[in-house]
Amino acid sequence: MIYRETGQFKTSYAADQQIFPIRQDRIGMALLLLAAFVVVPLFAGNYWFNAILIPFLIFALAALGLNILTGYAGQLSLGSAAFMAVGAYAAYNFQVRVEGIPVLLSFILAGVTAAGVGILFGLPSLRIKGFYLAVATLAAQFFIVWCLTKFPYLSNNSSSGVISVPNIEMFGFVFATPQSRYLFVLTLVSLLALAAKNMVRSTTGRAWMAVRDMDVAAEVIGIPLMRTKLLAFAVSSFYCGVAGALYAFCYLGSVEPDGFSLDMSFKILFMIIVGGVGSILGSFLGAAFILLLPIFLDIALPWLAELVHLPFDSATVSHIQLMVFGALIMFFLIVEPHGLARLWQIGKEKLRLWPFPH
């Protein structure tokens, strides 16, 4: 009843092309933005910002980047964390070495640097069809972490590559409180998400999806394969780079190369599998799910073990976590390859009919 589209006719192509063509969706989105920008900062506690909301937004951004490459362009990457590392360290270097550079510019340049590194690793591997990009990104993952640890210049001569970043400052305002950092990250992530949505529904996005679905046919209609794939990789690395910079500057404050491990790359991959490949919304849903799952398991498992009187220790929790992640991935790929985003869509479709059965 609430979700019916009757009466909403589109009289122009422009109206038809909107991101949210259904009025109820627009209202929903407006409410969500209101909640995110106004309600949350007023009522949420510091723990929520620091431990949940800020990392959620940052990883959603990284997941968005990976989704562009893997979900829309169909090229698998196992090195997202490495590109986050590039972004973090690049932003740090720009901030520390260039006197008076605006922080946003550092972030953008950090993203561009990550994109550049991405193109370097993409060039040999994207020429051929197959899983070669996966191996190339593994190479990037291990090589980049090694470089950041071993070349002291990159971490301003700190030992073992650890860097500590100061609070960001813009126009004299220092983003010191969790609220302010949250709003900064929220704004940046929202803008980049909008940009991603725009890219994805335009010719750029169609070229990516064409290459994913059938690259021979894409070539035949004139889409340049190599350039399209490289662009996806560059944009994806840009997003991961910015996410990495935010990770260092607005979340942890202090990072080391080993923190951007293969494990983190896998986590980001799992976010898009669970959330939904090829979906902007899916990146957010997946990030929330994967971030909250360990917390949930940490609470639920000991309680469950008590119920069945089984012995328990922290090692078991981490083993079960691995098993749950693995099982979830396989489950989603088998049952619902388009992830939570598709489940959300199905839910909305059911809502259109409610309360009628059909």
Partner: protein, 304 residues
Amino acid sequence: MSFFFEVLIGGLLSGIMYSLVALGFVLIFKASGVLNFAQGAMVFFAALSLVGFMEHGAPLWLAFILAFAVMTALGIATEKFVLRKMVNQAPISLFMATIGLSFFIEGLAPMIWGNQVRPLDIGLVDEPIGWILDGYNIVVSTFDLAAAGIAMALVAGLALFFQYTRVGRALRAVADDHQAALSIGISLQRIWALVWAVAGFVALVAGMLWGSRNGVQFALTFTALKALPVLILGGFTSVPGAIVGGLIIGSTEKLAEIYIPPVMQDLFGGNFGGIENWFPYVLALLFLLVRPEGLFGERHIDRV
């Protein structure tokens, strides 16, 4: 100069280990077109099962058989509950499913067998053979020779199997075209069960050798990741390629680890160890520029 040979031989021998893991990949890829990311986890699981059974009192030969049974069961379960349900999906989805599988196995194995590092004693001594050491100044142990011998035997056996037996032919048919194989009466399910069993056997052998050399521990799964560059060098579908690729990766990574850091140290100062973490991958990446299908792989022609 003899130091160079020492490093080289050491590398070649560890390369054989990589080859064994890569063999498992090749088998499954050849028969089902699935690149099984979980092969490393399977090696780990196999080794853990072997040690576990031995700890419960079984002699080596019995533990081996039991572990093989476990691996076969794991393979069949994987085929039945995961792969069969994903038959229509794109290769990238299948690959991601095997990533999920590897996580699952990596959690399951220590749940069942515990997660302490254990030594594995298979009766082969890992000490340099006296007369070779004295005579030629090369460090080779009985273990190394046995490993090499086992690998050769496996490769020869598998090559013969694929080429000359009826089942081997059926496997090749299935690898080529599932529908066509079905249409001539080959039972896909039985073939896949067989393939995973053989891959499990290979994983068990690899796990046994790796485990007795380095102890059975979680790090085994990372070593197994290095099989991917081996596949790129050797070709995804080639059994000899897995061996040659493994030898190259093993030797170059050791040589790089020894010879590059001093040069870097002279240029930049500081410590530059840890090259073997990334060297195989970067080598594979550069190899892609020259010969993407691998030394022994097949050129893939897309017919439209």
